[in-house]
Symmetry: C2
Subunit: 200 residues, 2 copies
Amino acid sequence: MNLKEAGIGEGISEVIVTTKSTSGEPNAAPIGIIAVTNEDENENNYFVRLYKGSKTLSNVRETNKLAANVTNDAVLFVKSAFESLNETYFSLFSGFPVLKEANSWTLFDCAFSEKRIKSGIFLFQLTPLAVKINRKEVKAINRGLNAVIEAAILATRNAIAEDERERTEREKLMALYARIVEKCGGSREKEALKILQEKT
Amino acid sequence: MNLKEAGIGEGISEVIVTTKSTSGEPNAAPIGIIAVTNEDENENNYFVRLYKGSKTLSNVRETNKLAANVTNDAVLFVKSAFESLNETYFSLFSGFPVLKEANSWTLFDCAFSEKRIKSGIFLFQLTPLAVKINRKEVKAINRGLNAVIEAAILATRNAIAEDERERTEREKLMALYARIVEKCGGSREKEALKILQEKT
């Protein structure tokens, strides 16, 4: 299956992954879906890297499923990175939580593939089970949206091990991204930056 | 008129601006379209900043028109930043060049608004004359695409006036963006990076 129409293309697609625990509690977190093109078959293979200690990993180990929700909403990315989204954000597909506001979602089966002990990363191969396209649109590139994503990734990176020089570099980059959001972003990007700055 | 459906939203939209000279020669260059929301009317006002010495500025002064072409194609952004696109890239709307592969284009009338002598920037107010939506889609955020745009902006920035420290900072950022493209980009982003690296 090729998921390009659902917005999941070559390389790494930044989406919001929704999962549920065996008790049914939904979770959402921004995660990259990796597409590796198989040239012989003109088909993609899909993978995801999940981190030890994350709610997404424990849910995937319990249910073997995740949904990749495609959205351009900067606020959704930042909120799902730093908070638990409350139930109003979710709708259910056959009992599985997806994001109401997603432009598309793809429900995947997750097969455990590899554990990298040193980095604490678990690699899963993904097989699409169902796809829903809610809304197609035209959208120009906005540097502010991109800068929010980069700032959120920097902010969630484990900062414990970094030295003085690395900390200075990170702070310089955060300031650069904040300037780009202020200059180029729309209201959602500016709101997302505000949330991000309150959390960090 | 609200151009959100054509992909030109709040903040600055990165598009490829097409123009023509009085003799009819087409030109394309990556430029930001600025939308300023008028809260009373729930409408946007649109502006563009054009630089002294650019082909886009001289064409706009000759014809008072530009078209904003919305695309996600990293190669188109880099090529139009560093080369003259040949005629095969263009189609004509009432004699005005637009990009064949654009997801949408908006033709604007350009009214000269302000000249900032020190920075060499000419500000124009834009009034939409015609809109065409060619293709709506769902597309997840790809950090590689964003990194190509940031790298292209850095590469086209006037580097003559920079000192040693600024040059080091720019090179560090370029290396960061190249790493993100290699890690997260698809084939178009990787091709765009290659073109960019050949040009700089």
